[in-house]
């Protein structure tokens, strides 16, 4: 008999709790009911400011937060819990629903703190917490803009949240004022020196900073507001945003008589259990052993603790590292450990470089031997190396660690102790990584990632993983194989620069030996991308893997399968009939593929050209199912038929498939286009996926299904078709040039130095100045595309290779035989293999 868990609130932490519980509750012991206040499922509130880029709430969606298809979770948005009856163990929601619980988790989060200032409730005064708050701010900005052109705005609060709000206003085209009561910006994270530099860097971004003063009153003046500051300044603005911190929402717990912490928050023990053993509290509304945490990472730990407890395991909140590293309006800010030198006798070592705009401070023990904490502003590149050293003996002179040469130069990863946390997102220590290398035999960054999860979240520690491998004595060779010391990307550049057109020439000049099954297909792919005629032309034919060599997919009995291109999955009845007739006439097994096309199995080598002849005559062409090339662009029916479609997804899918067909790449490329946010084309599981919004297209990249699924990341949003195509052109060419052999875009993006931000810099903002070149290369590909099947049919020499036996042309392979299963031919192996299949 299953028990009922009620979760009050559906923010990021509540979602993590449900996810963790459902992930582990294999026996289904809990039925979960989640009541949320906001009108939508939990979303990425940490990234709230990015909503201004697209005004598309889907961009903030958390994967799986709707629990679609999970009948053990009922999500009720827009209907918060209003009261708890602890005796009866039931809650009442705002709509009047009464729900029994066996366990209740309070995850009601925080409310924005609005200081008791006269006029704080006037129209034009906002807070900054939810998507709806941002919608309201946007509407106010637009109204003011209609009245007088350039509106003015002020933010009360110069901490993390205040600067986020200021960024949002800047992204709306305003030049906001920021009012902070403390003598510096981000008073909790940085010291006066760092705050001074931060003030300068932020002011350079067109923000007017007022520190050391409060807001004493807000007065309405027609349709404008006047904000009076404590220092006598008066700001004349159209809108004002309070973003001066948050307070735990503990009212539900208070009213139910639960104990509350001294500084607010529902008081819990280390297992996040409140004074009522059936009620837990997690996230920002909880006061765990008297301490309230305003960051998401500790909230996630609490969620996991409660999920484990509910499943009968012992778990306690391990405490949280409140170190932070973030980028505010492009300015790096990091603080860790005892950043403000509160430890008695501690010493501060400061390197202030106003010219380059960086401020770095280390706090060390009185004997200057132990690192206690630090602050980095303007350049936080040493953060990953320094944070794990907190509480440890310093490996060198403190000043050298933050000097111009940088910590990376001054301290090697060898200096880090084994318990130093390398990946703070997933709490992986240096010792665990060393164990993965020595004990589990991990010999690459990718292997470490899948073994330990280090580097799989924000990715900032990935360079450290490489250094740790090197420190363990693992050499990471980028050589393609024994014949080439170069990586695939290097060979690509060599071929591009030298205009070498054959494998023989390339291996003679840049490699050794005769080549192998690794380097030959890789070079064949490079030659094909750079346009060297038909893939079976001249020597190229012998470089190809068997699939490419016969332009079909070899199956387990040595026969091939044939997949004609069906762009976007759209096909006429007449063409469907042709495929059916071909299959019937050649005795082929047919199956619908996952990429919205039809696969014809069981063709022998000599049948292939005859099958193609029939298909080509009916207007089909190769679907490149055999190639490391663009496969399909899957689509939903979009506006053409669907009641919910927002754009013509089929039209775009057809256009993209025809544009990129035949493009040879390091691995196969899959794509998808969905006509609305329901995402029926599963575009986010593709190498590039497009999702329609009412404003245009959102482009996602680096997705993957298969054994290691990865949701694609949003690269750009709200673009029109021309811009979309331009960015896909650049993205694909950049990938084709720089990826390793057989590296899908997902793995490539994970290993790309600088990750998604770097990719966006390169292919959207053209930081390397190569976009013109990438687009030209794609234009070249598009202009010279020709159907490979037709190329064979038109050339007697190529055609002659399609025989099973050189001494008996026309005789099929006698070892190939079929039997009938479910009314279709399937292979039967005549000879028993001498060795078991693997």
């Amino acid at each position: 008999m299953s028990r009922t868990l009620v979760v009050a609130g559906h923010g990021m932490v509540a979602h993590r709790l449900v996810e963790a519980l459902r992930g582990d509750d294999v026996d289904g012991t809990w039925q979960v009911v989640v009541f949320g206040e906001e009108p939508r499922p939990a979303y990425d509130r940490v990234a709230l400011t990015s909503y201004v880029d697209t005004w598309d709430a889907a961009g903030l969606a958390l994967p799986g937060a709707e629990y679609a298809g999970d009948d053990r979770v009922e999500l009720v948005p827009g209907d918060p819990v209003d009261a708890i009856d602890r005796q009866a163990k039931r809650v009442t929601t705002r709509s009047g629903r009464v729900q029994h619980y066996d366990a209740l988790v309070l995850a009601t989060g925080s409310r924005p703190f609005v200081p008791p200032v006269e006029g704080a409730d006037l129209p034009g005064v906002f807070v900054y917490r939810t998507i709806e708050d941002l919608d309201d701010i946007r509407a106010a900005v637009e109204r003011a803009r209609a009245r007088r052109g350039r509106p003015a705005a002020a933010v009360v609060g110069g901490g993390l949240l205040g600067l986020e709000a200021a960024k949002a206003l800047r992204d709306l085209g305003l030049s906001p004022h920021v009012v902070e009561m403390a003598p510096r910006l981000m008073p909790l994270q940085v010291d006066d020196g760092g705050g001074g530099l931060l003030n300068r860097l932020i002011t350079d971004l067109d923000v007017t900073v007022h520190t050391g003063t409060s807001t004493s009153a807000i007065v309405q003046d027609g349709d404008r507001l006047r904000a009076r500051l404590g220092n006598g300044t008066e700001l004349d603005v159209d809108l004002l945003v309070f973003s001066a911190g948050v307070r735990p929402r503990d009212d539900l717990g208070r009213e139910a008589g639960l104990d509350v912490g001294e500084r607010g928050g529902v008081l819990t023990d280390a297992a996040c259990r409140t004074s009522d053993p059936h009620i837990f509290a997690v996230g920002e509304c909880a006061s765990v052993e008297g301490r309230v945490y305003g960051l998401v990472a500790p909230g996630y730990s609490m969620a996991e603790v409660v999920a484990a407890t509910l499943l009968g395991r012992d778990a306690v909140f391990p405490g949280a590292d409140t170190s932070t590293k973030l980028k505010l309006m492009g300015v790096d800010v990091a603080s860790f450990g005892d950043a403000r030198a509160a430890t008695e006798g501690s010493l501060e070592v400061v390197v202030n470089d106003p010219v380059n705009g960086s401020y770095k401070k280390l706090v060390v023990s009185d004997d200057a031997k132990t690192l206690l904490g630090g602050v980095l502003v303007g350049d936080a590149s040493e953060y990953n190396l320094l944070r794990p050293l907190v509480g440890e003996e310093l490996p060198g002179e403190p000043a050298a660690l933050i000097g111009p040469a940088g910590g990376g130069e001054a301290v090697g990863v060898e200096a880090l102790p084994d318990d130093a946390q390398i990946c703070s997102c997933n709490a992986v220590t240096k010792g665990e990584i060393n164990e993965a290398v020595h004990g589990e035999g991990c010999d690459s960054v990718g292997a470490i990632k899948s073994c330990t999860r280090a580097g799989t979240s924000c990715g900032s520690c990935v360079p450290m993983l490489g250094k740790l491998l090197a420190a363990c004595g693992v050499e990471q060779s980028t050589a393609l194989c024994e014949h080439f010391t170069q990586s695939r990307a290097e060979l690509f550049e060599i071929v591009r620069a030298t205009r070498i057109t054959t494998f023989s020439e390339l291996i003679a000049e840049h490699g050794t030996g005769a080549g192998c099954a690794v380097c030959k297909p890789a070079v064949a792919s490079i030659l094909a991308t750079l346009g060297n005629g038909h893939v079976l032309g001249g020597e190229q034919a012998t470089l190809q893997d068997t699939n490419d060599r016969f332009l079909a997919n070899m199956q387990r009995n040595g026969t091939y399968s044939v997949v004609p291109r069906v762009p976007g999955g759209e096909i006429t009845p007449d063409r469907l009939i042709v495929i059916g007739e071909v299959a019937k006439d050649f005795g082929l097994y047919t199956k619908i593929t996952g990429g919205q096309r039809i696969d014809l199995f069981g063709a022998t080598v000599e049948q292939l050209p005859r099958i193609w002849r029939r298909l080509v005559d009916a207007g089909f062409e190769s679907g490149h199912a055999y190639g490391k090339a663009l496969r399909t662009v899957k689509s939903c029916v979009g506006t053409t038929w669907c009641r919910y479609g927002q754009q013509d997804s089929v039209g775009l899918a057809v256009e993209l498939e025809l544009r990129y067909r035949g493009l040879r790449s390091p691995h196969k490329l899959k794509a998808g286009v969905s006509g609305c946010q329901r995402e029926c084309a599963e575009a986010r599981s593709k190498d590039f996926g497009v999702i329609a919004t009412e404003h245009g297209w959102n482009l996602y990249v680096g997705g993957n299904g298969g054994a290691v699924p990865r949701h694609a990341d949003l690269l750009v949003s709200g673009v029109d078709t021309a811009e979309l195509v331009r960015i896909v052109d650049r993205f694909l060419m950049f990938y084709v040039r720089t990826a390793d052999r057989l590296q899908r875009t997902a793995a490539w993006l994970d290993e790309l130095d600088g990750g998604l931000d770097h990719l966006r810099d390169v292919v959207v903002d053209d930081s390397l100045g190569i976009c013109g070149e990438l687009e030209a290369a794609m234009a070249e590909h598009v202009a010279h595309y020709e159907d490979e099947w037709k190329g064979v049919l038109e050339d007697p020499e190529k055609l002659a290779r399609f025989t099973s036996f050189v001494n008996a042309p026309g005789t099929p392979d006698p070892t190939v035989a079929f039997e009938t299963e479910r009314e279709q031919p399937v292979p039967v192996m005549l000879g028993v293999p001498e060795v078991a299949n693997r």
Partner: protein, 120 residues
């Protein structure tokens, strides 16, 4: 052009002409069908040496080795099975990836530009 595997004890060997040398591309192979259904992969290296191996991939049972990529691994001339990619030594039939697996080798003889396969 050199001819390898042309064994000295030709006495009991039956030689069958199968194709002209130019029908076998450099660094590639072709399959031949002999009496009794025996299939031989005739493989030609980039250095223009000819080898004859059983065409049947022992790991899958499919007759496909003539369609593998011809190259070298550690200096050993090899063909890679197109099914699961194991390499086979062209001279001995020894599988490089699995010590206990070896496939049949067939001697070849080239006369007047014609490739002959020998079966003992």
């Amino acid at each position: 052009m050199t001819v390898l595997s042309d064994e000295q004890q030709a006495g009991s060997t039956v030689w069958t002409p199968v194709c002209r040398v130019e029908q076998v591309p450099l660094a590639a192979g072709v399959a031949v069908l002999l009496d009794g259904g025996l299939q031989v992969a005739v493989l030609r290296t980039a250095g223009d040496e000819f080898f004859g191996l059983s065409n049947v991939d022992p790991f899958s049972g499919a007759a496909v080795l003539s369609r593998g990529i011809v190259g070298d691994v550690g200096g050993v001339p090899v063909v890679a099975s197109p099914i699961y990619k194991q390499n086979f030594d062209l001279r001995t039939g020894q599988c490089l990836d699995e010590a206990g697996v070896r496939i049949d080798v067939h001697p070849l003889r080239i006369t007047d530009g014609v490739v002959h396969v020998g079966v003992r």
